[in-house]
Symmetry: C2
Subunit: 216 residues, 2 copies
């Protein structure tokens, strides 16, 4: 059964999914990169970037699982790149080089139309200008019986959460206190949305928390 | 070296230290009791209440440690009891029977004066009407070289945190989503206050997170 899920989403101990003052030098906001320390060390991450080595273990297992059975992704525009306003030509092709780690259709939420961009390795970026619902419908269609993964950023996750569209969430709580930034859950009533805790597992570099929404 | 600490303080996955709509039937707020499931099972908890049995393990070790080297406690009035307004006689003596689990001086923050209340087992409740700073000074004095433990509730912890008075915190994240209630850290910048993560340990029924404040 196809699900809409958030997976391996890093947050701080104090609940921030990104740091404050995002800009070109700090695409994840100030200190935002620290949230991902657990992931950057893993074999799964190295493999994604065509490298060998990296740590195995609990963190790596969950990182790898987060990519399994995903048939389509949805990303906010800021996750796709630092470009703001209308696209200026086709020069920006994402942060990930010629062969991005998605290997599926990826739907990028934007206010500015752009032709689809086909990359190596099965990734095609589609730029969706008619909103969240439309992006989700397209992603579900593209994913067939596989899952749709909401990649982020924080704002996109919050919007799909609030709309009651997310079935499962796995977030990785990093041993970091940011103090400020983009809170992932603040003002969102997860209990009312029907989420219940499934399990919590301490990894080498983060605590993995799994939530699922009751169906019906 | 004497420290001011919060220990074994239960919060939900979504950051609430108590549920909403606290009243006589729900002294911890609606569903607030669920936050303490990890603790109620422990040998340390049973022992506190004069019972035998209870689970040993990680949760129990941290529960037991939370009582070690404590020379004085500070509690908010709502933690001491459900009575509001002026004390009506001496009939309310806390939730804990004749021999409360503190065995130290306990300073209760209140707006209403009351004579000290000496219980069995070394616990004396002192009622402090001249504010947080005064209560802390009295508690430090009473604790001598031992620690002062800020017992709660949420509001008291938040006030001492905001005042920069807390040196160490151990909170136990329970696998519960409350959705609403009293958030422990919301609006408090722990990084700016100088806190850094010390360690995270998964127990049988909660995830234990330890923070410490950099001195100087």
């Amino acid at each position: 059964m196809s699900k809409v899920r958030v997976a391996a989403f890093s947050i701080s101990l104090d609940g921030f999914g990104a740091g404050p003052r995002q800009d070109l030098n700090n695409p994840l906001g100030v200190r935002g990169m620290e949230l991902h320390g657990w992931f950057l060390n893993t074999e799964a991450f190295k493999k994604m970037h065509g490298q060998s080595g990296g740590a195995r273990g609990i963190d790596n297992d969950f990182a790898a699982q987060s990519f399994e059975d995903v048939g389509a992704w949805i990303l906010g525009r800021n996750m796709f790149g630092p470009v703001r306003g209308p696209w200026e030509g086709d020069s920006w092709k994402g942060w990930w080089g010629d062969n991005p780690p998605y290997h599926t259709p990826v739907f990028v939420l934007t206010h500015h139309a752009r032709a689809p961009l086909t990359m190596e390795g099965g990734t095609t970026f589609y730029f969706v200008t008619d909103g969240l619902e439309s992006a989700l419908a397209k992603a579900k269609d593209a994913a067939k019986h596989k899952d749709v993964r909401i990649g982020g950023g924080v704002s996109v996750v919050r919007q799909y959460l609030s709309a009651g569209q997310i079935d499962e969430m796995h977030f990785a709580v990093s041993p970091v206190l940011l103090g400020e930034g983009e809170p992932l859950f603040s003002g969102i009533n997860l209990a009312q949305l029907g989420f219940t805790p499934v399990r919590t597992v301490c990894g080498e570099g983060a605590t993995h928390v799994f939530l699922a929404r009751n169906q019906g």
